[in-house]
């Protein structure tokens, strides 16, 4: 059971918003979405969970260990089962490395197998995200946005994590590539039993991937619970506002003929 109770984080320099009193849990194999507008604190929260930032207060417990204030090698070891897929498929891959080297990096870091074994793993990983093995010797700039995001997912899966934190993984993609990645993430979850913390500003995407949802606004959790329940009958007015603006409204409802 993974728990993330009560985080407080002041991040004065970049985001002039605190994240306060954020508490939620993610069960193994469960997919939890985090929604809200830009600046609501979703990304800060995700980075705190991933321990790329250190929370000022509260605790982050992952697989029974309190990782809130760990540093260095202990941190590395204790969050081995947690991986992240970042928002921008363009800058999250080192432009001067081959795809193979990029996906291999976690394997090298945790010294999994020897060179040959790692190479095979990389090929298997690329295959599992739907990329042809010949992409291994290419540079990121030769790939499309959707393909790059697949590489990010392959890299994240390399050391078989239990939890995948996805920070707006499809926001930078075309609608058709978005659909491919969403399908991929759903398949992977089903096949590997992964838990997801899925950050997105797009409520429709969250609905198709998540079991539960956490709604954030101004650094605080407004509402959280079962996805379908909240979408169909939101209790908090802000949630209602979010859902309304995400729903398609046409101007003169008269000639509206819904999307099939």
């Amino acid at each position: 059971m993974m728990r993330y109770p009560r985080r407080k984080h002041e991040h004065a320099a970049e985001i002039p918003l605190a994240v306060t009193g954020v508490s939620f849990r993610i069960a193994p194999g469960e997919s939890v979405g985090m929604v809200g507008e830009s600046g609501s604190g979703k990304t800060t929260t995700a980075y705190c969970v991933a321990r790329l930032l250190e929370p000022t207060g509260g605790a982050v417990r992952f697989m029974g260990t309190d990782i809130t204030h760990l540093r260095g090698n202990t941190l590395r070891m204790s969050r081995r089962q947690m991986q992240m897929v970042f928002q921008d498929p363009f800058s999250s891959l080192n432009p001067r490395m081959y795809i193979e080297q990029i996906v291999e990096e976690p394997l090298r870091a945790y010294q999994v197998g020897d060179r040959a074994a790692r190479r095979t793993s990389v090929r298997d990983l690329l295959d599992s995200v739907g990329l042809d093995p010949r992409f291994a010797r290419r540079y990121p700039r030769e790939l499309s946005g959707g393909q790059r995001q697949r590489v990010c997912i392959a890299r994240a899966l390399a050391i078989s994590p239990q939890l995948l934190i996805c920070d707006e993984p499809v926001s930078a993609l075309d609608v058709s590539m978005q659909a491919q990645i969403i399908n991929l993430l759903k398949d992977l979850q089903r096949d590997l039993g992964l838990a997801y913390l899925f950050i997105s500003h797009d409520l429709a995407v969250v609905r198709s991937i998540c079991d539960r949802v956490v709604v954030m606004h101004d650094g605080e959790i407004i509402e959280q619970g079962d996805c379908a329940a909240i979408y169909e009958s939101p209790t908090h007015p802000y949630t209602k506002k979010l859902l309304d603006s995400a729903r398609v409204r046409t101007r003169s409802g008269a000639d509206y003929d819904g999307v099939a």
Partner: protein, 280 residues
């Protein structure tokens, strides 16, 4: 790694000036090295009957490029001098690039106290005109080539430090660094695998400029008498020696000048190609 070479050749084949540059540099290095080990003593042989002969084929291969004020074969002089110039320039640049680059990356990644100290030291070094600093050092310590290399490298450190630091700062915020940390890569490995790799193109571009600059600075110092001392020679020293004969026997000063210029330009042109490859 082999991929980088392949790209390099690929770009080179299509870029005629770069190809010529490469050939010039390779030839220069080979000839000068050969010259240094074979004709060094010959180049010192003075022949006062053969003073100031202009370039031409009338006196045979050894005098193809004429002679200088002391009747020494200029072909031989140029080759030997070239070896010295190239070795000095290469050493200076290698030392300052490696040390400066390392300091810059450290500075960009270190806590602000360390960063501030390194930056202020840079400011101090940059506050002195490099020629003046070199003059003082060479006068007070000695004029050996080692001191020359050392002091020239020292004066050029700040620019490498600043460039490398800038690149380190820029790269620090990029997502792939965060991704590397999430992948479990240790901080040292992150620095070498990602940050250094990112800083390399900028530092390399600097190197191609600096070699030429070093050759010119060294020639200035030699002219002032504190650089390479006779009987040693460098292209710079030959240029300054040739000053006296500039209007009568132009080749004494002009030929080594052309050598410096051609090498500098070739390095820049080739450097451009290498930069493109390093950028990926």
């Amino acid at each position: 790694m082999s991929e980088t070479w392949r790209q390099f050749w690929h770009l080179l084949k299509r870029d005629v000036p770069a190809f010529i540059a490469l050939i010039w540099l390779v030839l220069t290095v080979i000839l000068c090295t050969w010259g240094y080990f074979t004709v060094q003593t010959a180049s010192l042989r003075q022949n006062l009957n053969m003073r100031l002969i202009p370039p031409g084929t009338s006196h045979g291969l050894a005098y193809l490029l004429g002679t200088d004020g002391l009747g020494r074969s200029y072909v031989e002089r140029l080759l030997v001098a070239g070896a010295t110039s190239l070795v000095i320039a290469a050493s200076v640049v290698a030392i300052s690039a490696v040390i400066g680059g390392a300091l810059g990356i450290i500075s960009g990644n270190a806590p602000s106290a360390v960063d501030t100290v390194i930056m202020r030291v840079c400011d101090v070094i940059m506050a002195f005109p490099s020629m003046l600093l070199a003059l003082i050092a060479l006068y007070t310590i000695s004029t050996s080539p080692v001191v020359l290399i050392g002091v020239l490298a020292f004066t050029r450190l700040p620019i490498y430090i600043r460039t490398a630091r800038g690149e380190a700062l820029r790269t620090r915020g990029l997502l792939y660094i965060s991704a590397a940390r999430m992948s479990g890569t240790r901080p040292m490995a992150v620095t070498f695998r990602h940050i250094v790799r990112a800083a390399l193109p900028a530092v390399w571009t600097l190197v191609t400029f600096e070699i030429a600059l070093t050759m010119l600075t060294e020639s200035g110092l030699s002219f002032l008498g504190v650089g390479i001392q006779p009987p040693g020679a460098s292209w710079g020293l030959l240029v300054s020696d040739g000053q006296t004969y500039l209007y009568s026997s132009w080749w004494v000063a002009v030929l080594p000048g052309i050598a410096i210029m051609a090498t500098a330009v070739a390095l820049r042109v080739l450097g451009g190609v290498v930069s493109s490859v390093l950028e990926g």
